[in-house]
Amino acid sequence: MTSNNENLDSNELIELARNGQKQAFTMLVKRHYGTVMYYLMGFGVKKPDAEDIAQEAFINAFRKIDQFRTSGSFVGWLLRIARNQHIDKLRKEKKFDTTGSELDLLNLPDDRTPEVQVVSDAAVEDLYSGLKPQEKVLLDLRVFQQMSFAEIAEALGSTEGNARLVFHRLIVRLRSKFRS
């Protein structure tokens, strides 16, 4: 069953998950775990806390899967759930500040956890090393999930122009690294 699910595209997995097939949803979790984790870490959330929030977000997504419209981006929908889950957690801890609820792609400090930093620094030659979590998410959403800048902006709580600008700056940086 699981091996069959591996070859299915996201919409097919979503359809199976809607019909209650838990393995199909688990496959979606495996596919999007990294995006959700880096997305939360982009807010400065430490990895263990990000994992707790991600867990709640995935469970919530399964409960609400009937509300997802397949015309939209599943990962974008998932990130919005993760973001709301993160905000709820901050509210409960009375740390919520509306100015910090959006992922500022341009001005975020390097919030990498020491663990992630070690992983990145170990692979110096890797093009991805040294990328901030939010830059990894941006690259994933644009190049690998092929989301439009409008969808990315909606998912990241940014503007379309900001998402486009940051993405192309990132491409320029990676290109010069690639050339050298």
């Binding site: 838990k22 775990y33 984790m37 867990q55 991805y128 092929q146 990676l174 290109r175």
Partner: protein, 150 residues
Amino acid sequence: MSAKDCEKIIDQAIEKHGADAATQAHARTCPKCAATLALLALLKTSGSPVSDLKPSAAFLGRIESSLATSASEAAATGALKSKLLAAAIGVALTATVAWTVVSQSKKSDVAKTQTQTSQGEMRADPDVRAGENDAAFPQLQLPSATDELK
């Protein structure tokens, strides 16, 4: 071409799942775009930068056990909903049948009155007018109890 035009070319290459003929033609004359397209091809083969984080077996186990709970909760809610729906349909059906019987007997009373009274008398009595009952109380087109008896 300006940097903005090169960005558009790259956007197209990403959105169209690869470079089309026009993009390839531009890339042949533009070293920047050529390098970017080669970079994108390399990224595609290397995989997403977020794929280095994989869920642990413990994480997946926690998710799966929560999904089992969610699914049984949903099934219980579904069963309760269908029971409530069946009860609601039963009540509505009983009410409709009762109403049809009552309105049919009213109609036959009105018809009897109409045949017994003259046109002049009808105009003088605004409470008894043909068709008024139908307009005030729209009814479902269900067979009436008397139809079934025929």
